[in-house]
Amino acid sequence: METVIKTYELSKIYGKQHAVGQVSLNVEKGEIYGFLGRNGAGKTTTIRMLLGLVKPTQGRIEIFGEEFYQNRYNILKRIGSTIETPGFYPELTAIENLKINAMLIGISDAEAIEKALDTVGLLDEKNKIVKNYSLGMKQRLGIARAILHSPELLILDEPTHGLDPAGIKEMRRLIKALSEKRHITIFMSSHILSEVQQLATTIGVIHKGKLLEAISLENLRMRNRKYIEIQVSDDGKAVILLEKKMHLNDYEVHEDRTIRIYSHLEKIGEINRLFVENGINVTKLTLSEDNLEDYFLDLTGGEAIA
């Protein structure tokens, strides 16, 4: 797998405050990397460092396998980005605003602007002055501007910030489509757990400037499964019974003779009866679920994300 973004102990210190501390990111080609953290966790500062707007106090950045600060201009040409609420020249129309970017990037294809506006569903509003755009429209226009030059990597900082539920849904659809249809690698930050969970293939959790964990969605789902938790007098005998009599293999044995069974949850009564009939005392039997929010709460030391 090709690595698109790699950072080595990236840090930013303002005075005595460590805004970002030793963040080592690894973003693979084609994935949607959800950069999750509370407001003020260091997401935007990290993104600004990735885009060369803020200079790191220490650490290194490699993008597309190249050292960022030595090849900054060439690398940035392959990236599209929006940072927080995208800014536009309010007196200009959408098409005029994009024309500025197209000229600066050196896009000669006149259709590129219309194509980008069409992708985000703003083609009919192309001649509207941007100051009359709603926040949702501005966010979409920001995406149109970011994809104008067909970038290989999109860096989106809080792309659903300030949007209503319909706008969030539309933005989610758009990001997914860009990833699936155009195969763009997407690095997006958010403070909303459910949003990241619905979009990202990998989630990196940043808290108080530190990257606490980076985990694939697959692994995350594993952690989020429902299970039967059963405490027995003889866990060795119990697992033999589970395998031979119930044909269950999807279980884990934990401390204190506790077994977690992840499949056939509807057979909770049957399992209990099996153990009792075979002389195993059942001291605890519950149907549990690892809540994703609880998982992040544990990770952040009890502070909620959103």
Binding site: R48, G52, V54, L76, K77, I79, G87, F88, Y89
Partner: protein, 247 residues
């Protein structure tokens, strides 16, 4: 660079700054017109020459309105990228930071020259309406050139406003600064320091017959003062902007 320059001009489209600048550039020709015509009304024997009208208008622009008006223009051109949060987009396209400053500086120069030309044409039209005398082609060419030259000299004062805009990232500090230096100009204009105070120096250089060299200062001092006021803040602006974080 040409692209950047075109884009800077495009950004001014539909901008209120155009109207505000035109109104600002109208103030002095209209004010002097009424001043001269009311003097003539009190003394019907007196004549008003175009020479006098052009001179008075240019002097007031150089010593009062120019610094304020062009300071406001410069602040707007530079500060809008912070206010409208467009700077982060420009720098991640990417546009070179130095190129951005220079292209904006060139736009400021172009607009200043256009406004000076507008003031010159308005002065001419008002002079014709007021039946002012002694108009000639030679006079028109000479004063046309001098208005543009005055604009160029006033442009040399703009880097200090750029530096303040970049440092404080708001309109208030830069506008406060231009008001302060303009007020001081009026005070200094009556003193020997008129030859070295940067914001009166354009007037001294453009209209040298109005100011006399004194024991302390000569025209060389004036040029050095103006040159340093252009070069030092511009260099500081470029260095600061190249190094600063964009938050």
């Amino acid at each position: 660079m040409l692209n950047l320059l075109y884009i800077e001009i495009l950004k001014l489209k539909r901008s209120k700054l155009f109207m505000v600048s035109l109104l600002g550039a109208m103030v002095v020709p209209v004010m002097i017109f009424f001043m001269l015509t009311s003097m003539r009304a009190r003394n019907p024997q007196s004549i008003i020459t175009f020479e006098n009208y052009f001179r008075q208008t240019d002097m007031f622009i150089l010593l009062m309105i120019g610094t304020l008006l062009f300071g406001l223009l410069t602040t707007y051109v530079f500060n809008r990228e912070y206010q409208e949060e467009t700077l982060k987009n420009l720098l991640t396209i990417p546009v070179g930071r130095k190129s951005l400053i220079i292209s904006k500086l060139l736009v400021v120069l172009m607009v200043i020259l256009a406004l000076m030309l507008f003031s010159f044409l308005l002065t001419l039209i008002l002079g014709l309406i007021g039946h002012f005398e002694e108009l000639s082609v030679e006079l028109l060419i000479r004063w046309g050139q001098l208005y543009l030259y005055s604009g160029l000299l006033l442009f040399l004062l703009t880097p200090s406003v750029i530096l303040i805009t970049l440092l404080f990232k708001n309109y208030i500090a830069a506008i406060g600064f231009t008001i302060a230096v303009s007020v001081v100009s009026i005070i200094v204009a009556q003193s020997e320091y008129v030859l070295i105070y940067p914001w009166t120096v354009p007037g001294v250089i453009a209209l040298p017959d109005l100011f006399v060299e004194n024991e302390k200062f000569t025209m060389i001092h004036s040029w050095v003062s103006l040159g340093l006021t252009f070069i030092l803040p511009l260099t500081a602006s470029i260095i600061y902007f190249e190094k600063t974080d964009i938050n």
